[in-house]
Amino acid sequence: MKEDHQPILEIRNLSKSFTASGTLEKLSGKTKYVRAVNNVSFQLNKGEVYGLVGESGSGKSTLARTILQLTKPSSGEVLYKNQDLTALKINEMRKLRKDLQLIFQDPFSSLNPRKTVGQILEEPLRIHGVKKAAIRQEKALALLEQVGLQTEHYFRYPHEFSGGQRQRIGIARALIVDPEIAILDEPVSALDVSIQSQILNILKALQKNLNLTMLFIAHDISVVRYISDRIGVLYLGEMMEEADTDSLFAEPLHPYTQALFSSVLDGSKKERIPLKGEIPSPLAPPSGCVFHTRCPFATELCKEQKPKLREVRAGQRVACHFVK
């Protein structure tokens, strides 16, 4: 598939904890920590789509924001073009913002209601120093077309668009500055299936044409499978398994991945592996393997010792004591 495995972005042992600010914690005087992301490492190769899946609260959004330095990591490094983003000064980081674009689930809240689509699209260009109005407009119109909108939409306001169309505007705005990497946080989760597939097709075509590197985050496993070359599975802020998409679906090795995939209702009849219990609170993550409280195969060892993420097949890494 991808010939060059040049990492364009390398995430090394990234962790992020928040201080919990609930009333109880304040009263007790003890500071508690929410461990949102714990010691996560992976890399994005140039031109690939890396998918991150995980249930709600598994730390997907926090990971994205920490990579982009929108929140400061507690520890770890993010290497982009031989620079550690976590060590950069604010103005140094600002220069790199253009290269790393974030696309959200709901672009509506981030689209200024008083500006036309044309103004919205051209703003990032202006910020990044494209002075000629004609060039900005040409670029905006070209992107409108690439995301499947029409020239007439250039003069319209965000409220005149449907959810799917607004998502296209959000995508166009992020891509207009020719980023190296696009990070998409649940870009299709709020959309109906029929619209979702339109957007996925557009994203896939754009990615190919622009040789864009993408970090694609979603809780919907069939969606992530469709778009990604490789996939990482997060649980309670930790990477449980990572592999190229076809291997991962042919043979998921981690018990969590297996149960997660079996819960996906994609209209085909299949055996489900039921998971008992709830997702534990990141305020008090389980000892040892974070998945042991729900794992059907957990032993004493799992309670006591955290398994290392290790390569068990070519390109497939798993954090489980028992996978051979």
């Binding site: 249930e55 709600s56 449907s162 959810g163 799917g164 169309q165 109906d192 299936v193 029929s194 619209i195 979702q196 597939s197 339109q198 996925l200 097709n201 896939k204 075509a205 809780h219 496993i221 069939s222 969606v223 499978r225 469709y226 998409t245 679906f249 149960a259 997660l260 995939f261 819960s263 996906v264 209702l265 994609d266 209209g267 085909s268 009849k269 489900r272 039921p274 998971l275 219990g277 709830e278 997702i279």
Partner: protein, 328 residues
Amino acid sequence: MTLLKVEQLHTHIHTNKGRVSPVRGVSFSIEKGEVTGVVGESGSGKSVMSQSLIRLLDREGNIEYNGQIHFDNKDVLALSEAELRKLRGNDISIIFQDALSSLNPLYTVGNQIVEAIRTHQSLSKKTARKQAIEFLRLTGIPSPETRFNSYPHELSGGMQQRVMIAMALVSKPKLLIADEPTTALDVTIQAQILDLIIQLNTEFEMSILFITHDLGVVREICSSVKVMYLGQIVEEGPTETIFNQPLHPYTKLLLASMPKLNSDRTEPLPAITGTVPSLSNIPKGCSFSTRCPYATDLCREQEPPMFSNDGQRVQCWLYDEEKGGWLD
């Protein structure tokens, strides 16, 4: 035995911008013990239709219904406010997607269930408490005695939904309307709640109207399914039939556009072009004609009737009655 029969139901809402009709001539029936799914994209009228069945929207005023709703020999559209309250409390329960906003944040979940029990039966607080704990246990809440004293916000989304289900069950309703009860939940938790709903259906012989936009969920738990588009049921039938040989182009496209775990990743996903038209701009003829790849002049001019074939019904001009399938 037919529990619910709906005929040519129209729901009109008068707003300050004029009248809209989110439900436009819906007919179907639900048998005792049947689990039936209603699918459709956002805005297709699933919630308005299901709330119309127990006239929940009446509270907002300016609602007008046409047609017939018969539930267990009662003419729902003719009931008084007091009779309606009884119907909603005893015979039909409804649960929503967002459990947290349906629960009172100021009371423990236990007390809310006790309240619900005591409005149906004159029981002492102590007996009602015992029953409430049993309902919590029944819905799979671990250590229900302790959870009885929890406030809604102290519970996870899955637990809150279990509490809502427990509350909906206290009256042992004949029909449970579940409006996207698992949409906000994670897949592993969704699987648990779906198992619970099926268990309750078997145990209590309760009919369930399950509303969702997720066709995968329908296939998992529903024996029959109705597909809604712009306030109409455009196709309905037994779940397996609809999945294996959908007749309406909309159903076909919906099924095809769902990414599947075994689909070819190199092919573009089939998509439905365009977007759902607004209620103030309903197309002439077949309401799907503006997005249908097979639409003809007839489709754009005249609304198709509902054709029936062996328990499957479809509202589409392309259906050939003689062949029992598609026109070529």
